[in-house]
Symmetry: C2
């Protein structure tokens, strides 16, 4: 076992409550599977659609604000785009797995619910597989793998990009100075205009794909700048220590969602995909195959492209609909390769691999604090994910192992397990990490992103004004939508109170 | 009445069958509104989802090929993105209204069904409202309004673009030489690289917005090149005489759909939005609120973004889903301004207005062959449509009249009627003229566009290999999907025949 202090299990190393093997059962107790008795209509104040972090936060805040809630979740589990699985006596996160500085809501939540964190392991040398082939470069720091001119070029590029980001108001990107111009070009176009050295552009592109699960040529510059600004800048987004990849949760992230959900009890119904929202003057009828609910208001937390697939009666405004047509989910397949031990540590390697022109662009050490088993975690992203999606999981395993053998040595072939998840195949997600906007969408349709449509309110990490695309953003959106509804309900109630005076 | 020979009513001037006022009733006879009797499941060979030209062509060809069909249409009318309305004793097309050379299927259909065509009126001078303000320019030809250098620059730009277009194979744009590079940039980026004079770039952009109902900055260069190539080149797309705006149908286009549908009789069910497709080994159960159908195969002809909103069981492959997340419908509001007579003709004006930086970029003379009433037809497109969508129809009328007064003179204020349609508000269309692909979608996911998923086949103008986005493309896609199904069914049947021998 490594003596690396960053790998020392934190004080409370025991994962959530009991045995990590049991959570999958705990996540779907029988009483949460039940539709309303007799197929009748159940009444509540607010129906929240989706039991990811946005939905759970919205429900929690609404309940604290004095409203009754019902949370309808399509899946047979909680957590949305976080998804923890057990294997080889440990856990792996097939979805969101990191929290970092600036993500205060997520950190507070873990602290409050006594879910311990531990630092993402980084000790040891990183390996770079140079673009265009050639011997792997073993480096203490990625900067060491770069030509001096590329490094300077990269830092200049990031600095110039952060200047663009600083122009974007987080609550209204469409109001940025020069928003029209920013939204009429792709991030790739902007990078090209900066004329960076090739090595600098390549490193930036690897970062873009790791952050957005899409190429810079697919992103509106305005969107890329908004998303980056919402995270506090490029370094915050892309760094491990000091950045969004800094810390992991002991036991995985989905158990955090499960603890968060506990006070909501049987207000949460699993396996209930919402099909239709029918609004009238009295409220909203929420229809699912499993039953119907009547609520004064509804919160939809789904990724926008999936929110559009609910049948709305009356239909949503055209601007809202067109916005959701322009918010595709990124393309990513996340994998974990399991070895008996983290053998690369003995050789002074960190498990971090950067392979700019390989199908797998980046890997990390995914080993749990107990250091058994050893796990390498990585991603197929963007076009690589789309290509890999047409292969079987076994074929993808071979592609991954080839990269790892090239980077870490022949022992990488001796994996004892491989697991991956193509998020585009998940019918209730259809892509990760989140949505991105191509040119023209923010400025033409952005105002519709959070604007309630009558009694229907929008949440989910894509609607966040901080860390959009992250667990933190999901929590922020849940808080915001709850405030929105509580304010609207207070306003709604006051006249009646006045009349009684 | 004008003596312009192009305005002489053609030999068969009488619109479809009887009175143009009656078609709206004919389009929804009671027997077509009926769900299957008793809420039971009706069996058929093929269910076609959508009764636009793609669905009608598919159903017709399948029936001719010996298969029984049921066509389920969500709307209370036929014709999809063509939509004819009557007013002031004439008709207006609120959707697709032109056919042109190279659109042989559409022209043949009109001929076969004895729906007469007449040339789009163009006689008289056009008016250009110069970008940046200034007096209107009255010109015999748009070219006359341009500086010589702008005109040469425009012709060079078009010529260079047509060279790019020629590289794109119409049945597989993702296989174009250098497809990755073409798909990693926007059309706007490519135009900028050609460094055209500003006036040339502006005219090209007006053309792009008129064709795609989206800005060049929203379009993958590969997509723009495919779409243009599928129409036979830039001039074919953008010209009136000799191009896609050459001819109109007497009585409007929707009546053509209605005649086309007649032989299908009560095989067409209106007001049946399909909600779910459940595939098993035996076939596909097609579920709607109005009933269920059992078919061996299903053809979905909806715009891809709407096809994604059907609930598929089992879920569609991730690649198909992600493709449909990346095919937003364009943004367009089409309007007709009605005057007692086409008074502009008396002043030697054509009614064609080009206003590159106004909310209404382009108008045409929309007057029927009888020359009563006079109609000016035009469009809010792209970002202008998104902006105008937030106004009322009355407010849009003011915007339109302001442009027409500036271009044609104060008499333009004396309109007796105004009608417009924001296609983004139509719940069963959600944007026109068709879908466009931002960078990265064709190369990552394009193979899924026409590839059947089990027993589910894809048609609709977006799937066409010729004139994608036009009535012609819809017809081509209907023919293609019928051939696909007839071939699959023959293949499926042969072994059983062999066993009997």
């Amino acid at each position: 076992m490594s003596s690396d202090p960053t790998l020392t299990p934190p004080e409370r190393a025991e994962p959530v409550e009991t045995d990590p093997h049991t959570w999958e059962h705990r996540s779907q107790p029988d009483d949460q599977r039940n539709p309303p008795a007799g197929g009748g209509v159940e009444s509540t104040d607010v129906v929240v659609v989706g039991a990811g972090f946005a939905g759970l936060q919205a429900a929690t805040s609404l309940l604290e604000g004095g409203l009754e809630v019902t949370v309808l979740e399509a899946r047979d589990r909680l957590g949305g785009r976080t998804h923890t699985r057990t294997l080889h006596d440990t856990w792996v996160d097939l979805g969101g797995q990191w929290i970092g500085p600036g993500q205060d809501r997520a950190a507070d939540l873990a602290r409050r619910l006594e879910v311990a964190t531990y630092p993402q392991p980084t000790t040891g040398d990183d390996v770079v597989l140079p673009a265009g082939g050639g011997a792997p470069l073993r480096v203490a720091d990625l900067a060491d793998a770069m030509e001096h001119s590329d490094l300077v070029g990269y830092l200049n590029l990031v600095s110039a990009f952060d200047v663009v980001c600083a122009r974007v108001p987080l609550d209204a990107p469409w109001e940025a100075p020069g928003a029209g111009e920013l939204d009429a070009q792709t991030l790739a176009e902007w990078v090209r205009d900066q004329d960076p050295p090739a090595g600098a552009a390549l490193l930036f592109e690897v970062g873009v794909q790791a952050v957005f699960a899409a190429a810079s040529s697919q992103l509106s510059l305005l969107h890329a700048a908004f998303y980056t600004a919402a995270a506090g800048g490029w370094s915050r987004l892309t760094d491990t220590e000091g950045g969004a990849q800094q810390d992991r949760l002991v036991g995985g992230v989905q158990p955090l969602a499960e603890r968060f959900a506990e006070p909501l009890g049987d207000r949460i119904r699993l396996c209930v995909p919402v099909r239709r929202l029918i609004t009238d003057k009295e409220g909203v009828v929420v229809e699912a195959d499993e039953g119907s609910w009547l609520a004064r208001r509804v919160v939809v937390t789904l990724p926008p492209t999936l929110a559009a697939r609910i049948d709305y009666d009356p239909p949503l405004p055209g601007g809202r609909d067109q916005l959701t047509q322009r918010m595709p989910q990124g393309s990513v397949i996340k994998f974990h390769v399991v070895y008996p031990t983290p053998w690369w540590r003995e050789r002074g390697l960190s498990g971090t691999v950067l392979a700019p022109d390989r199908a797998v662009g980046v890997t990390f050490d995914g080993t749990p604090p107990t250091a058994r088993p050893g796990i390498i975690t990585g991603f197929f992203e963007g076009a690589h994910a789309a290509e890999a999606a047409r292969r079987t999981s076994d074929e993808r395993r071979q592609v991954v192992l080839d990269v790892l053998v090239d980077a870490l040595g022949p022992d990488a072939r001796e994996a004892i397990d491989y697991i991956d998840l193509d998020w585009s195949e998940e019918p209730f997600t259809r892509g990760c990490y989140g949505a991105h906007l191509p040119p023209g969408a923010w400025t033409a349709h952005g105002t519709a992103l959070r604007q309630p449509v009558g009694r229907i309110h929008w949440a989910g990490t894509e609607t966040a004004r901080a860390w959009a695309g992250y667990i933190e953003g999901a929590l922020e959106s849940g808080e915001r939508v709850a405030e929105e509804i509580l304010a609207a309900e207070r306003k709604h109630r006051r006249p009646r109170g006045d009349q009684r005076v």
